[in-house]
Symmetry: D2
Subunit: 439 residues, 4 copies
């Protein structure tokens, strides 16, 4: 009773060449045989190789990038039959998760040599270069670009349904016209090329046909999306993909741990092998009903903020400043939480009264964190870091730099400022040097 695993419809191997694995392919063509079948409504896992099919290694030389064989890239997983999908339908693809393999926790970013691939800035930066990234949970960092760490906005670079013969013909025609008109000193598009063609489980004759006709995977194209390289088409996103052939023939690959807008160095994202979890739903007649000429998508709910939270959270429990245990008293807990914050701010030079005023009016977050674990209610108070014009982080506090001159708040007449930090006029409670309460 109750599901506990998700079906894996595409296992890939690192021990044999991509070109020998029948559930992979590197062309867009309607005749590539199905690599598996997925039910309408089903959620499955699909394993993917990195986009170079393993040509780039986890080392400190970019020679592999320089010499990469660009006819052996973009091995996509699929194509998969989505039951019930027909031409004119939309395939609603919800990306439930993307993860690297747990025993392959790394990826790479490359700059191609200007003579073999190039990139957006290749006239200025013509050499091949590379950075290897290590993954630790949601974060990545690189020995080649020190002092950088961030959470990945992980996503597939390529996903789409196979073109019909008509759509494929449109592509080949318009790209051939561009090539024919080219006067630039560089390739402007890549025509079909019967070299290193991998057509999944197709036999030799079919593979030859696909090699002659099949569209290359480099550009994204308006009719199906394909290699769109959109950085926030990430976890939780819902993509609406036009279906052109029976069964949809959905393919996916080119996983990215992260990418910037433009993916400017061409091999620009953090390329990786991994597993994507997808839910599929067929929307009958959706292309006409939404009049879609190109895919649309709605981003998911977990886009990283690309910074740590900008609050320091203090915890407090229902044990008062005299050490007395109270039973589930949230007000006592919140009072203690406030005091923890006031104590923390002392080291930057603020008097307790200044901090008490500040906690009252600054937009602190006061939460009922736990209210069922007897006898201790737990509350938290989040102090926004950025309302200060100096650094109040624990790192800064530990650095023990000079305190700023914090002046004073206004007091009633007769209060000696020196005493108020230590508990205030007429207070029965005073604070010793160790910042602990004493009577």
């Amino acid at each position: 009773m109750g599901k506990s695993e998700i079906r894996n419809v595409c296992k890939v191997s690192f021990d044999k060449p991509a070109a020998e694995q029948p559930n992979l392919h590197n062309r867009w063509h309607p005749d590539i045989p199905f690599a598996g079948t997925i039910k309408d409504g089903e959620t499955v896992k699909i394993e993917c190789l990195d986009w170079t099919g393993g040509q780039i290694k986890n080392n400190d030389s970019a020679d592999d990038v320089k010499n990469v064989d660009l006819t052996k890239v973009h091995y996509l997983s699929g194509p998969f039959e989505i039951e019930g999908a027909e031409k004119g339908d939309l395939l609603l693809v919800e990306i439930m998760d993307v993860q690297p393999f747990q025993d392959q926790l790394w990826g790479f970013t490359g700059i191609f040599d200007k003579g073999n691939g190039g990139g957006f800035l290749d006239e200025i930066y013509p050499s091949a270069a590379k950075a290897i990234w290590d993954f630790e949970g949601i974060f990545c960092s690189s020995r080649h670009i020190p002092h950088v760490k961030f959470a990945g906005l992980i996503h597939p670079g390529i996903l789409g349904c196979a073109p019909s013969a008509e759509v494929l013909d449109t592509w080949n025609t318009r790209e051939a016209e561009l090539i024919a008109a080219n006067k630039l000193d560089r390739d402007v598009a890549l025509p079909p090329q019967p070299l290193n063609v991998h057509a999944g489980s197709a036999d030799e004759a079919l593979t030859e046909k696909i090699g002659k006709e099949g569209a290359r995977t480099i550009p994204g194209r308006p009719e199906h999306g394909g290699n769109c390289d959109i950085k926030n088409l990430s976890r939780g996103s819902k993509v609406y993909l036009p279906v052109h052939v029976p069964g949809a023939k959905f393919s996916v690959g080119d996983l990215h741990f992260s990418q910037g807008d433009g993916e400017i160095s061409f091999c620009g994202a953090i390329e990786m092998a991994g597993v994507i979890t997808i839910n599929f739903k067929v929307i009958k007649n959706g292309v006409a009903d939404l009049a879609l000429k190109s895919p649309i998508y709605i981003p998911g709910p977990v886009e990283p903020s690309f910074g740590p939270g900008r609050y320091i959270y203090f915890e407090g429990f229902s044990v008062d400043e005299h050490g007395k245990q109270h039973y589930m008293d949230v007000a006592v807990a919140y009072r203690q939480t406030s005091l923890r914050c006031i104590e923390y701010l002392r080291r930057f030079g603020y008097s307790d009264y200044q901090s008490y005023l500040l906690l009252s009016c600054a937009p602190v977050q006061g939460h009922v964190a736990g209210i069922v674990d007897i006898p201790n209610a737990c509350t938290t108070l989040g102090l926004p870091i950025d309302i200060f014009d100096f650094d109040i982080s624990p790192t800064a506090a530990l650095a023990k730099t000079d305190k700023l001159n914090m002046g004073s708040c206004a007091f009633e007449t007769g209060v000696e400022e020196g005493r108020v930090t230590a508990g205030g006029k007429n207070s029965k409670v005073s604070f010793g040097g160790g910042l602990t309460y004493k009577e």
Copy 2:
């Protein structure tokens, strides 16, 4: 044709006492006369005094806080007749804006003396204290709490509709029971008190009645909300308020430029006088239809993040690195924008190739900013600040501290590292010391 002003239904004066202004009042009672009429669906402006009615001054002593007369506070604006509202309806209040008066750009936070008002931590901090805050646009800062500046999450502390006689009776009964059972050494609730009663335009006899029966304004109460002091019930919020009497008798006041959860020092928010802009809509029979026993609200869309944006944005235009003007070429502009960012990162020790790799894979934001101002397309590139483990802000860049050791990215064999920062192997473009392009 076309509306160009918003009707102001409540002007307040700073030149005469609050108690003499007939559109203000300081009790909750169904018999306080209407201060004006508002149409169902109308948007109006309502001016409000600060909650002490002007007792607290913009100076450097807290004696005014210590000696505040707490029987002369919470002068609310209203009550207003909302046309068509009847008992059992909901009043949908949308807060379109809250602003301080443009010639009164300041507010205050107070700590009351333990003997006159007190607060959440008064056993530890018994003295009166005060901070004055200056407003500059969306920001506030205080000479009494230096090195703090933040955007206000501006909101009304009090808003609600008048209780019916029955609801008022419930309040008075249950609070009297609490007072009767009190064994603490402090006030636990404030009963009706015929002292300094201001009942708007009521005559003497009615004012006397209201003084004897009218509920005090300090606590919020479940049946109508009232002094709820909710920090994010701010601009753009929609509040659903139960209506208990014909015409609703809506009142509002106690404006806060900002407040923390709990408003812990009691006079804790940044208290201010100002103008609130509200849209009113009546939902017939809404109390039963939503079965509301207390107000609910949906927060608005402009909650500050309480920090600056965590990106540095670079601008680029369609003038290339040779100074040539291109016509609306977005790719040229985006290429220039990328170069601006690479140049910026040099001063922290990164080589151009490291930055080029980083721009490709880090989640940079690449926007088409302006695409219609001939001949220059303008693009922007936002670099996330927090992916670095050191400070890359302009402030840090200007401080000229020592560069970190940034190592190197991987290169193809034969590339001299020293040269690649300066344009790369075989490059026709090199960079001089002044970081300008030369051929």
Copy 3:
């Protein structure tokens, strides 16, 4: 004591032509006389006309847009002397606020006729058209595009410092080369043109010179920013502007209540007249120290989310379900807040036990809202709207549509499902049909 107003350095008039107001100008040129002086560190207000200088009216015809005189636009406020600024410095401009005039609460978006201005899609949409927008607080809406309302990301379209003679010469040279090379059937750039030149307080001879040399204001340019039209260069943003001439000669104008990336219809933002509040700081030698070739900026903290908050917030107070008043008891308040939410969810078909389970595990926000207003603690509980796959908003609740089939949670053996919603097995509390507690 204590500042209470902000100095207004530029008043504009709606009663006389823009061309007659000496603190406005419509060319970039180093010789335009100063319109005022601002201290290093000072915050000031600057009034601005809309970018057409009042040519577009609040009515329902686009003839004014069709016939707009494009030689009479971009009347900028300034140029202002910033004390101490010199060539090579950076001017740090912090945008403290932007507001429309309170008696001119409207703006416009136009599509220019293809023959007079045009725009990004003019080959497809060649006619002139217009939408008038009304402002109510932070929101705008238009009778010409019904069913749309949003919070403005308000910003200046143009800001920058005057070019030096050398910089101006660079601009004129490179744009002339583009014009000379033009083979398109449209203008690709606008050269200096001595027609309707407004050079502020310049005398006739100087105005003639400025007309011959002065750069047009349409394009943004890399050396100073200018008409960059960046949609999130909004409130709270800090812009770093290169200074080219003594005193900086800062100008600003073309205020937008909102704009989309690209400002695609050319007259595309919501254009308005209004007041911008700016703080100015001079960073000596900043151009070299940051090696800036173009402005950079850090966005502010109040970017709207362009949707309402995605939570429904429930309020609860320390009055328990038997009507008993408790003194500042946060747990009682939070328990009541939870019950308010459980009651609310009943109308969608959930049993109380389902909702109780859901409140425990869904990411609800539980806040200590007010903790100082005796005798009532106030807590809030925010229920995320989007975790449901149907609409739980008050609007939907009021619509009284059919309930979905909500099934049941798992129960212990022997519990009758029908009873548990009404208080549970062995419960002394049951719920009547009116959703009120009865014993």
Copy 4:
């Protein structure tokens, strides 16, 4: 070269009882033997059982919840020796990730019977109940609470370092005083109890001692945190934990896929077994340097927004409306992207000119998505969903409800409104009914 796996320091078994696994324990005590050793600076994986040690099953009866043995819960993983940690240090714990086991993709939320555990609302809801949740990637949903799906804010309920003998004595003393003074009709705290004690690899004699002295795990406590149940102490969070004994003796457990503030039903979170990935760093003398009496934390960067993205993103490529292929032309791609959006909005009744105006001024997001995949530049345009007062989602578009009356924008004189939607006056391009371009 290059790390590719993360060390797993704690494997748990589902095949034998928790009480027989030596790397688990269910008391806080300084003498529980180390379960493993972790380096200062190391990142490791730690497997954890669910907090009931497997007592709750994936089925449709809550009898297991009703009869749960609460003396057999909170089997924590650890305690681990952190090399170099000493009393007075802080342990900086960075939560790199938390994941369920891939073959156990489910969790549970329970309501305890009032007579066995109870909860926050047990006086009103006394019966046991349960909901089982299925996990699919980042999302969870339950057959017991239909029509709810959300992304988990996944976190550990319990983490902390072992108390010293002195700290333990303080806990036992103050909680005993509370128990002694109890006059309520329920347990207010749980004293040490030598029943079902699991002390990891301790021998019999030591286990007996730990049973008599060891603190129960239910409450969080100020000195070390422990069972704090804080909902956003999630992935990416950095927690600063006081160290009380040599080697820190860090323990963790009680993983939650999600929890609401308060965890109100006691067994309230979505409880699960799984794997937590943590980076450990020792901060020497940190307790005194930060004067921490309780843990503090800084939340991570990936808090879900608990809703889908509130934008619909349109994709466009550099193939123009005549089917012509352009080479990497971003302006063509952005123009197409704009047209895709205009076409989409037609079905809701907007004319093309209205949409063109709206795209110009509403805060649409225009991104350079991909700029290196020849020949197609790819741009995206994000249209904010919530600026409309009706539903523009694809789901709504597919529902084919009646169109609203959208009126018209303002036009220049002489334009026939009927024609402008179809391409505009003088346009060479018109649109057929099928929403495709024809010449």
